[in-house]
């Protein structure tokens, strides 16, 4: 049924393809329900992700990273564009049809405190998805869950305990275990470490890497911490005000950032050696409101190289070789 929607140039290695994804939230409605003002959270984001890779998504607060992650999982119904997962177009699937696909794509949330139900035990939290999706026969659920807990660095006697008994890092391990309990292919990590302190961050990142190797997972890793993204990602997407301004492999992006925003962003990475002189590019002003984005190139209000064309025409998002894409008028000169 949904097989008809398979894209013609289907590459079996590509697990997730996002085409021109758009998500808006209504701000004002007339009495008849017509939307008169809307907030554009994600605007025209496209990328392809191969199985086993990690895509790091970076950007300032409020640039639509989280919305993008949730829209991919259809936790927010996308307003436009297509999401193709394992060659199947899932954009228009109803929530009932989505349920089967959900076990292949999972999410880890930013806040490990509010994302665990307070009234069930760790064992209950982890075995419920296994039971619902019939991952293993009923009699083997407990062994399966204990095995999973061991993989995620949780001790077996945590099985009977409640989330409030754990620290943030351990809670995040429970969240990871829950996401992995259904054997997903794709995991969206929505700032999984930003609520944790630095030493725990390293543990969780290493755990995620280890699990990726063991289970062949694909990650979309959303973060505003560039050093973390640099460590874990194969590809990086830079977002600004809802749209992807640059996308490419980690090496390309770090060695040769094309977009002025990326350059400014990367110039802000602190260096461990205090004697190294940093050439920081300081951006002026604040990020504009996504409810009222600037015309033309979204970045032109803060761009140090802004030209006249920038305030009139939105630059095209083009491939500049080796899958390194960017959207900037400077590159077309």
């Amino acid at each position: 049924m949904a097989e008809e929607k398979v894209t013609t140039e289907f590459d079996p290695e590509v697990i997730l393809e996002v085409q021109n994804l758009r998500k808006t939230f209504p701000l004002k409605k007339t009495i008849t329900g017509k939307v008169t003002k809307e907030l554009v959270a994600v605007d025209g984001v496209s990328f392809k992700l191969k199985a086993g890779e990690t895509l790091g998504i970076v950007g300032e607060s409020g640039c639509g990273k989280t919305t993008l992650g949730r829209a991919i999982l259809k936790l927010h119904e996308p307003t436009g564009g297509r999401i193709i997962f394992e060659g199947r177009d899932i954009t228009d699937l109803k929530s009932k049809e989505m349920r089967e696909i959900r076990k292949k794509m999972q999410i880890i949330f930013q806040d490990p405190y509010s994302s665990l139900p307070p009234r069930s035990t760790v064992g209950g939290i982890l075995s419920e998805p296994v039971e619902v999706h019939n991952i293993v026969p009923k009699s083997e659920i407990k062994d399966y869950v204990l095995d999973l807990m061991d993989k995620c660095g949780l001790r077996d006697y945590y099985y009977e305990r409640y989330p409030h008994e754990f620290s943030g890092g351990q809670r995040q391990r429970i969240c990871i275990a829950r996401a992995l309990s259904v054997n997903p292919k794709l995991v969206i990590c929505d700032e999984p470490v930003s609520a944790l302190d630095v030493s725990i961050q390293a543990q969780i990142i290493n755990l995620l890497k280890k699990l990726q190797n063991e289970m062949g997972l694909t990650y979309v890793f959303i973060s505003h911490d560039l050093s973390v993204v640099k460590y874990i990602s194969d590809k990086i997407g830079v977002m600004y005000l809802g749209s992807m301004v640059e996308f490419g492999t980690k090496e390309d992006i770090f060695s040769m950032p094309l977009h002025p925003y990326t350059q400014a962003l990367f110039s802000a990475i602190p260096h461990p050696d205090p004697d190294v002189k940093m050439n920081r590019i300081i951006l002026k002003g604040d990020i504009p409101s996504p409810a009222n984005p600037p015309k033309g190139c979204r970045f032109h209000t803060r761009c140090p190289h802004a030209m006249e064309i920038c305030s009139q025409e939105a630059p095209e998002y083009k491939d500049y070789g080796n899958g390194h894409c960017a959207a900037c008028h400077l590159l077309n000169k």
């Binding site: 949730r70 999982l73 936790l75 989505m98 349920r99 089967e100 696909i101 959900r102 076990k103 999972q106 999410i107 949330f109 806040d111 509010s114 994302s115 665990l116 139900p117 307070p118 009234r119 035990t121 419920e128 998805p129 619902v132 999706h133 001790r155 006697y157 305990r161 409640y162 409030h164 008994e165 969240c175 829950r178 259904v182």
Partner: protein
């Protein structure tokens, strides 16, 4: 001391066998913590004792006191004295004729408390003590069933309204508003008149009373549940449940409703008290349980027509009033105790 010893042992174990320290530290489940806090409060234990006492009295009592049945008249007979006084004037002289008529009646009515009737008998000759027990059965059962029905209806409708929102929410909440606006007693008077006219068995009136109480009381619970669910469904663990692909039914009844339970239990125990009051009020107004069946409210009803009993036969109506007070107080104590025990801010 005991605890300290265990702790020391645990430390020693860590050094020897590398068992982590926290393995031996058992924290309590949320439910156990609530139970412990509940029993720490003296008032809630008093409430529990009151309510359990009333239950035993009503449901087990008749087994130990089988001398009289609920609708069994004491036929031992009694002499009834009727005094009359007539004044008339003959030739300007006034005469007063005092007359006492002695009648032998079959029923032993309005007997004072004695060995065979611990609380005496009422105007008809029924044993008051026994009728208190049977009246308690009706009052407690009616309020329990009504509260149960109210909770079920409130959870289902409030849950649906809160979870789905939008039009569904609007429709259900407006129905609630209308029901809350309805004046309870006047409608009941009308219903009662209709029932009287249609000659329905006194037994079934009790069930109708339950249904009526449920019908006018569910909006309160529905609002409570809806409000809770509105705030809970925005929690991240509900997004996680959505991401897990759980069915809507599972999300509402396995993830949301259990988290509403604390507030719901408190409101249920408090409304048990008010249901007993409702039932008593209705019976008192002759709208609920009708004689010959007993209910606490029905038993007090007699004083509204007979001032002699109100003044001179306190044993007829005071016990029923005391029972109502005990029941309402007991349920309120329990409700308050539960509310304090379930309050997350009072972590002790």
């Amino acid at each position: 001391m005991e605890e300290l010893k265990n702790k020391n042992e645990a430390v020693a174990e860590v050094e020897e066998t590398d068992v982590p320290l926290d393995k031996n530290v058992r924290l309590m489940s949320p439910t156990r913590m609530v139970v412990r806090r509940f029993f720490r409060s003296k008032l809630s234990i008093v409430g529990l004792v009151m309510v359990i006492g009333l239950f035993l009295f009503s449901f087990v009592g008749p087994l130990f006191y089988p001398q009289w049945g609920e609708t069994e008249l004491d036929k031992s007979g009694k002499t009834k004295y009727t005094n009359s006084e007539t004044t008339y004037t003959v030739d300007g002289v006034e005469y007063t004729l005092r007359q006492t008529v002695e009648t032998e009646v079959e029923d032993n009515f309005l007997a004072p408390p004695s060995a065979s009737h611990p609380l005496g008998t009422d105007k008809q000759g029924y044993d008051i003590f026994v009728r208190l027990m049977y009246g308690g059965r009706i009052s407690l059962t009616v309020s329990f069933i009504a509260v149960f029905l109210i909770s079920i209806l409130g959870v289902i409708l409030g849950g649906i309204a809160g979870y789905f929102g939008g039009v569904v929410d609007n429709v259900i909440m407006r129905i609630c508003d209308v029901l809350i606006c309805l004046p309870g007693i006047p409608i009941l008077l009308i219903i009662s008149t209709i029932l009287d006219a249609s000659d329905i068995d006194a037994k079934y009136r009790i069930y109708l009373l339950m249904i009526y109480l449920t019908f006018i009381s569910w909006p309160g619970t529905a609002r409570l549940v809806r409000g809770q669910i509105l705030s809970l469904r925005e929690q991240e663990y509900m997004v996680a449940a959505e991401a897990m692909g759980y069915s809507t039914q599972r999300k509402i009844f396995k993830h949301l409703v259990p988290n509403v339970m604390p507030q719901l239990i408190v409101s249920m125990s408090l409304s048990l008290g008010s249901m007993i009051l409702y039932e008593a009020t209705h019976s008192y107004l002759n709208l609920g349980v009708k004689p010959p069946f007993a209910a606490w409210g029905t038993m007090i009803n007699i004083i509204s027509t007979d001032t002699d009993i109100l003044q001179n036969y306190l044993n007829v109506w005071i016990p029923a009033g005391v029972c109502i007070v005990i029941a309402v107080l007991g349920f309120n104590f329990i409700g308050d105790g539960l509310r304090d025990a379930l309050d997350p801010k009072a972590r002790r």
